[in-house]
């Protein structure tokens, strides 16, 4: 399949997913409410005398993003399963690459919107001074989300055919979230503390390496999942 056709498939698959989501909006609003609740609960659960807002903030942000992200990933394939749409996709002439990229794109938009809406809340609740470093923070969020969505999309395809997919997805996925989330938290912590850029380069390169390696690995392996 040519690159142009792959691109069209990607956009078509993403558009389809997002259109379906837009019609019902349940998953989106649930994830959003979930994100707000987690941020709120973590804020009030802390011991304000022992832990400063800035110490708690990065962890709270990423726990929120991870959980909301997993909700999003789960609903993506649940949709497919309900309508046996996966079979339709598999039978279509669309390439595995196009389908994978489309699903990743759709998931990224979904999770991205939830993240971008929770971010101002995060800044508000935890009094985070990020205005000078917004660009860097957005880059970190983008990278970590890409890594986690790419692997999550692959695993969603794997577990969708099992009976307990809602449980299996986190069980399989969580070990793979460890490197990107830890890196993201470390980077967020330093960005929020306005540390000089050289303190970020190590974690940033590890995060980038993880995302690049696992994105391509997931893409390659997706083909094996889609076979029949």
């Amino acid at each position: 399949m040519s690159s142009y056709q792959t691109l069209r498939v990607t956009l078509a698959v993403a558009a389809k997913d997002l259109l379906v989501e837009q019609r019902t909006k349940t998953a989106f609003f649930s994830s959003l409410v979930f994100a707000i609740l987690v941020l709120t609960i973590l804020y009030f659960a802390r011991d304000a005398t022992a832990v400063s807002d800035l110490d708690l903030a990065p962890g709270a942000l990423w726990v929120t993003f991870s959980f909301a992200g997993m909700l999003g990933l789960n609903r993506a394939f649940l949709l497919e399963r309900e309508n046996r749409a996966m079979d339709g996709l598999r039978l279509s002439p669309a390439s595995a690459t196009g389908i994978f990229l489309g699903k990743v794109l759709g998931n990224m938009v979904f999770v991205g919107v939830v993240e971008l809406v929770s971010l101002p809340l995060f800044i508000l609740f935890y009094d985070v001074p990020i205005w000078r470093q917004v660009g860097l923070l957005l880059l970190v969020i983008f990278l970590a989300t890409t890594g986690f969505v790419a692997v999550g999309t692959l695993f969603s395809a794997i577990v969708v055919r099992t009976r307990y997919s809602e449980v299996m997805l986190p069980v399989l996925l969580l070990p793979f979230l460890f490197p990107p989330i830890v890196a993201a938290v470390q980077l967020t912590r330093r960005i929020v503390a306005e540390r000089p850029f050289d303190e970020l380069t190590g974690w940033l390169s590890m995060l980038a390496a993880f995302v690049i390696i696992f994105f391509f690995l997931s893409l390659l392996l997706f083909e094996a999942i889609l076979e029949e």
């Binding site: 794997i158 577990v159 099992t162 009976r163 399989l172 070990p175 830890v182 696992f214 690995l217 999942i225």
Partner: protein, 234 residues
């Protein structure tokens, strides 16, 4: 020779290797407990090292084998690779359990804490979790081809993940010095202790191989039975 006969022969050989390794284990126990000197600073608990380290090594070996054979399966689609990979995972879980129980038993008296999130311990914990995930995934599929293919994908992903986990924790710790625990440095082991350790490693490696052969043979026999059931019903 039929497939069944081959499997039974392999099982027998595996049993012999396991038996020899178990005898070797008795020897290691005696040597470690009686003939190896007690480490002055750490006391008797240091001797846990002679079982803990080799068992961890065996678990790591099992994991690497599962990961590599998963890759080979995806490339060749030869079922043999899948079956050995999953046998290795089963044996790996067994060794991981021994590893994760003996580790804290060594850590508490020697380091003052049951657990510490250093690179090695965290990586081995994740290896265990990945093994369990792998086996849980396999149990969710009845169709052998899908099961093999899907778990192979997980196997490959897991293999690539572990180095990242190790690096993540290592950097976390080197950039975040934790309060210094009562932690002995890695001393170069004097001759007697080193020999005990090496013998133990050899014994546990042999044990891994024996277990692997037996577990694999079992899997083949089970597979043959399933085929016969299918043929009978056809």
């Amino acid at each position: 020779m039929t497939r069944r006969e081959r499997a039974i022969r392999s099982a027998r050989r595996g049993s012999v290797i396991t038996a020899v390794a178990l005898l070797g284990l008795v020897g290691v126990y005696i040597r470690a407990l009686v003939y190896t000197p007690v480490e002055r600073l750490q006391g008797l608990a240091q001797k846990i090292f002679y079982v803990h380290a080799p068992v961890a090594w065996a678990a790591l070996l099992a994991f690497a084998v599962t990961g590599l054979l998963s890759l080979l399966y995806l490339i060749t689609r030869d079922r043999k690779f899948d079956m050995v990979a999953s046998s290795s995972a089963e044996v790996g879980v067994v060794f991981s359990i021994a590893m994760l129980t003996t580790g804290p038993l060594w850590g508490k008296p020697v380091w003052g804490t049951w657990w510490t999130w250093d690179a090695r311990l965290t990586s081995t914990l994740f290896i265990f979790l990945l093994f369990v995930g792998y086996m849980v995934l396999r149990s969710a599929f009845n169709d052998f081809e899908i099961r093999a293919r899907f778990s192979a994908v997980l196997g490959v992903m897991a293999l690539v993940l572990v180095p990242f986990i190790h690096i993540t924790v290592y950097w976390f710790r080197t950039l975040h010095p934790e309060p210094v625990l009562l932690k002995p440095d890695r001393p170069s082991l004097p001759g007697v202790m080193l020999t005990t350790l090496l013998i133990s490693v050899a014994v546990f490696t042999a044990l891994y191989i024996g277990f692997l052969m037996q577990s694999h043979a079992l899997m083949v026999l089970r597979d043959i039975r399933e085929e016969e059931t299918v043929d009978a019903n056809a």
